[in-house]
Symmetry: C2
Subunit: 195 residues, 2 copies
């Protein structure tokens, strides 16, 4: 019973946190606002989360996982054309997934700049994406589909940075066309690696 | 005489600010530290600068101008080969100029995330770079050197984002090779636009 209550209190704080962060953004949100919204005891809240950075860290878990799922799409093309088609598709899906979570990602973007903990979490996610891309680049290089001119890890960093840039740009706009954004960055990536 | 003293006080604060920001970074620097370092009156300091964001804004003026000078290099190539050579040269010079100002740019990068005023200043600088690149892209497109497939402004944003990424990466490392970094990003840009 006590454990159930404990889980329920934690969930209340997470739900309340989501409401407050979406309403006030990261910098302007406070634990006091979250606690009031959750209707839990002031001291109790800090048993579960040390501060708002800690709480936000847990809240964005799902958001980041959604993006990472797109990042882990299978990549075993049998031809250059197939490789290009997968790349364009994946870039589009990545931005589309970002748009689906636009409001929360705007807060994530704000928090990356201000919170060391969230910056670190995003850096970990970035490593995940870069490793996944580097694996794909190596696959394409080993199967003689892509140029071996550059190190797979360097290329992966470059390609993810283009995707990340397109993501932040798109979620900050009100009328972003995911396919168009993906098409532009894919063109340069494909021209550089698959020409 | 009074005006001279006033300029001298302002300069003292700027010099002291430079010392403190380089020593403590942006988030950990305080106006109190700067005032102590400058040896001016507490109340006097705030006549010149409202807060540390205001002071930092003035301090990084020069740093940003240094980068912008590289961004305004003349670009009137007569052939595709000449265009490619200028682009590679300019990307290298941009990162080299960044490395020359590495310590201050590390603080700038930190401040962009945390300070609305500094984020806005960097956004203005970014617009400067993007306009300058867009002009170059249009020149190359009009002279049938570059592909007309994409809008010059979109291409400019993409190319500056690669330069900016390479800049932040390079200044955060201790052994960055400007030529190597510039060569990687230039390869993708040139393949996409000049293939």
């Amino acid at each position: 019973m006590k454990q159930e209550r404990s889980i329920e209190t934690r969930n209340k704080l997470i739900r309340a946190g989501r409401v407050i962060f979406l309403k006030n953004g990261f910098a302007n949100a406070t634990m006091t606002q979250v606690i009031k919204e959750a209707g839990v005891g002031y001291g109790t809240a800090y048993v579960y989360f040390k501060n708002k950075d800690d709480l936000f860290y847990v809240i964005i878990e799902e958001t980041i996982l959604g993006l990472q799922q797109v990042g882990s799409m299978q990549f075993t093309p049998r031809s250059k054309e197939e490789a290009i088609a997968i790349i364009e598709k994946q870039a589009t899906l990545f931005i589309e997934e970002g748009l689906r979570q636009k409001e929360m990602l705007r807060v994530v973007h704000e928090a990356i700049g201000c919170s060391t903990i969230i910056a670190k979490k995003w850096q970990q996610a970035r490593h995940f994406f870069e490793s996944s891309i580097a694996r794909d680049v190596r696959y394409a290089q080993e199967h003689n589909l892509a140029s071996r001119l550059f190190d797979a890890q360097d290329v992966a960093k470059l390609w993810f940075s283009l995707n990340e840039k397109a993501l932040w740009d798109c979620i900050s706009q009100d009328d972003c066309d995911a396919t168009m954004s993906a098409s532009l960055i894919s063109h340069f990536y494909i021209a550089g690696l698959y020409a």
